[in-house]
């Protein structure tokens, strides 16, 4: 009977730890409600309530993610409690200064992503399973440190002033961290789903590029400071619009790197080391499908927000227009694959060039074009 039971309903598959995770999430939300409910508006309360089933479901689907969430919570709470409400302690307390304060934790994330990239490439070139497992472990650790940094940064922003406090997804520096983390998590998901670590070398390259930019932005532009929100950004919409967008960007970036792997594979480079072309095509499709769905939702959320902040849901602002261009690009890609049944080189090239379009929408618009949406100007 074992085989038949292999696919029972979700609730019956849950282990005690799964229930513990859900319980902790619910308790956390209840605590937040009781302590800070007075400062939240209706939408924020709704987000808080919905976060419990959403993250429980994610934890149930993916036990590694459940453990990650637990560790993030643990480290973030440790960081927060070490602060004791005093920002100056970031310079004085050893654990804060060298591990848990936001800048340091994000610094660790950067270093770990670089190391993971090296490990994945070593694993790919030397066919070393050990190196690849190290790469995965480093990626997980980088994600842990990155999210801890973001959580602590969120808290730090409230220490500057209660009116300054906000979720750290408000400027180019913060969203670059978010982009790296989301892309890494998406990669780890596909790693598990397809049982191969061979794509790590490629996906971690794009993350390393993002981290490289992040470091340049930090060291040469001093962009890491927490800035209070301009009035247009003070909205509950930011909490969902930005993350949804970056699931889209992250997925498209991942698909592009898989496209690169496909193209190398088709030219006989690393061919014996990389997964089969069908697998690559499948990952590429899944990733673009996920990205497209989230990007659609994010753009629509953006339109709803624009209607509230700028007085119209669509006004052909450069950022809006480029979001449309990205959307049209992947809509065309999906049509080619799903309706025309196209596979192979054209789609791989298209997916790679999609990254150029996406990067322009993400960065280029801020650098070269001016508009309403210039929160992260270079």
């Amino acid at each position: 009977m074992e085989l038949i039971q292999a696919n029972p309903p979700l609730l019956r598959r849950l282990a005690p730890l799964d229930w513990a995770a859900a319980l902790l999430l619910a308790l956390g939300a209840a605590y937040a409600f009781r302590s800070y409910g007075g400062y939240m508006d209706g939408y924020e309360k709704a987000f808080l309530v919905l976060a419990v089933p959403t993250f429980s479901w994610l934890a149930w689907q993916w036990s590694a993610l459940r453990n990650l969430m637990g560790l993030i919570a643990l480290l973030s709470l440790a960081g927060i409690s070490l602060y004791q409400g005093d920002l100056a302690r970031a310079e004085q307390v050893f654990w804060l200064k060298y591990f848990l304060s936001s800048q340091t934790a994000i610094g660790w994330m950067c270093a770990l992503f670089f190391m993971a990239t090296g490990a994945f490439w070593l694993g790919l070139l030397a066919r070393s399973d050990f190196a690849e497992r190290t790469g995965s472990a480093l990626t997980w650790t980088a994600v842990l440190m990155g999210f801890t940094g973001m959580m602590v940064r969120w808290y730090e922003s409230y220490l500057i002033g209660t009116d300054v406090g906000h979720i750290p997804v408000s400027n180019l520096y913060e969203v670059f961290v978010l982009f790296s983390l989301i892309t890494a998590l998406l990669y780890l998901h596909y790693e598990r789903r397809y049982g191969t670590r061979r794509l790590g070398a490629f996906v971690l390259l794009v993350i390393s590029a993002a981290v490289g930019f992040l470091l340049w932005y930090t060291f040469s532009r001093d962009a890491q400071g927490i800035q209070p929100l301009v009035p247009a950004l003070q909205s509950y919409w930011m909490k969902i619009h930005v993350p949804a967008n970056f699931i889209g960007y992250g997925s498209f970036a991942l698909a592009a790197m898989v496209g690169v792997a496909w193209l190398l594979q088709s030219r006989g480079i690393l061919a014996t080391r990389l997964p089969a072309p069908v697998v690559l095509e499948d990952v590429m499709y899944k990733s673009i499908a996920v990205g497209f769905a989230f990007f659609t939702i994010a753009t629509i959320l953006g339109a709803l927000w624009a209607a509230e902040a700028w007085g119209t849901y669509w006004q052909w602002d450069p950022k809006e227009t480029w979001a449309l261009i990205v959307w049209l690009n992947y809509a065309a890609w999906l049509h080619m694959r799903l309706t025309k049944g196209l596979r192979g080189a054209v789609l791989a090239w298209w997916s790679v060039s999609g990254l150029v379009v996406t990067s322009f929408a993400f960065l280029g618009v801020n650098m070269f074009l001016s508009g309403l949406h210039s929160y992260g100007s270079l």
Partner: protein, 679 residues
Amino acid sequence: MNRSFRHNLYELFSSMRFAISLLTILAIASAIGTVLKQGEAYNAYLNQFGPFWFGIFERLGLYAVYHAGWFLTILAFLVISTSLCILRQAPQMLHEMRTYREHAKESSLRQFAHRAELATALSVEQAGGRIEAHLRQQGYQTRRNARAGALLIAAKAGSWNRLGYILAHSAIVTICIGGLLDGDLPLNLHLWLGNKQIARGTQSLDRLPPASRLPVDHWSYRGNIFVPEGKRADFATVNIGDGFLIQELPFDLILKKFHVDYYSTGAPKRFASDVVLVDKKTGISTARTIEVNKPFTYQGITLYQASFEDGGSVLRLKAHSLSPGSGEVLDLTGAVGDAIRLTRRDAPLTLELTNLRPINVENIGSPRTDTGNLLEKHLGSGAKSDRDLHNVGPSILFKLRDNAGQAREFNSYMLPIEQEGRRFFLAGVRDAQADDFRYMRIPADREGTMTTWFELRTLLTDPAARAQIARRFTAAALKGDAVSETLRSKLSDTTEHTLGLYADGGYEGLDKFIRTTLPAAEQQKAAEVFVKVLQGAAWEALQLSREQRQLAPWPMDGISAAFINDSLNAISDSFHYGAPVFIEMTGFDLVQASVIQATRSPGQYIVYLGCALLIAGVCFMLYVRERRFFALVKEDGSVLLAMSTNRKTLDFEETFVRHRDQLQQLLTLPESDHGTHSG
């Protein structure tokens, strides 16, 4: 149009090739509008492109790409193509959703890429029952088809995938239609019919003809209401190209108070307008606060906090004459937006008060000196910042226009600003809008005012005073020394001459004199002597001014020395200030104006409906997997399994293998065990 041509057209418009081409063309066309800044003043384009290209670009509609006819045509084609796709596919899709294909022939099942043959000892009925129960448990809908010597179980799951197609594509059409209703199509229709006339220039708004006014019930619009504090407005200005129209509103909007709140860093935190709306028909008043991100909708018109301007603040000013030795001061009062005639003997001037900025937040932090370890600097919290933002107080922007109509623009700060440990009044000037302001730094005296500097300047530019200063300086310099009267008078003359050169052209005048009259070898030394003499004389001038005002003399210390030095620099710069008067602001009564955007967009809810359809459609299309499963159970104990999907992905393979293995196990179980798992 003959039938085959129409058919071909239909084929083309509903084809995938056409749809993908349209998506690509639309993407490229959209990109054009982001490269060229849209909706700027036509003058700016003319300057940028020159008259030739300006005309061509205007005709191509490149200044408002998204409202251009050709762009709307592309959109129209997209709508047509998408609609035709729906028309073409929907009936088939709906049929696919409903059908189980339970009449599939065995031969066609054998063509499936995913198929397997199993054997069972169970009867057809029993085997069929178990298969059906299993598939239902796995989320399939099933239908039986009994045929000669066999039973076909046809199952389907994920039919909503097909619905997703219809939803997503109708969403595109819905969104485009909604957007079109909110666009400027109704307005363009008016303009095209000649009913309305775009107003240009600065004619008085009250006297605009009805042809430039849009009625209260105009279908959709987006305009700005400008209203100063304490005033009312009942219309919005709708900008079109390089002109505008007036949109009548069904209410009077009264601005009670406009608020700007700031963070402790000086960055703006909140813009809000306390308004009262008085309905023109009913006379009912509604009081509200409109904030950024918190608009207010009244009778289908949504009001947003768009921006703010000065609403005619009253400024108290002092005009200091900069004529040599004059020291004349004139008190003035004027409102922002006013032009004031300055009656002067030599050249009449007009003072145009452009703007008052009550708050200026500037980064006045000096770069950190303790660079130390670069890495160390980036550890710790994200709250650290090198930026030191401070409010440096109010400033005014004004123009001085001469009789010939030539104007320079000036920007003056009301309060002294600390720089290098000293405090200066910054006064900027520029010749053209595109230039940066050049700043003159007038040192604040010990009382924190400009008075001492002006006194000093007046004395140093007055020939009579200069002679007196030269004598004082000589006396002080030669105090206690037994020198001849000739030497004494020689020093006095030299001092007076130096001051005269300086009063004529500042440091530049002195420099010119040195270069033209002295041999190169002596220039450096002479310059040092001149500067020493100048500083000494200025010190005497300062003390003289104190005496004249019957104030205690300044002590000889570092502060005084720095003040003398800074004053001489500023006086030298003042010869290039470009105006015969210096305007100082001594106080103001702030009157702000709020700019509130009024929007009426009845198509909004159609667009939102389209968005909901789009999200549902995309999710169904990408995440609901359509699967069909067939099991043909024959009396001879053989079972043919076949499975198909419209989207082949790797997990489809796994699903088929799983179903096959599970069914194989089920069909080999003895009769008594059945039922334990089917729940």
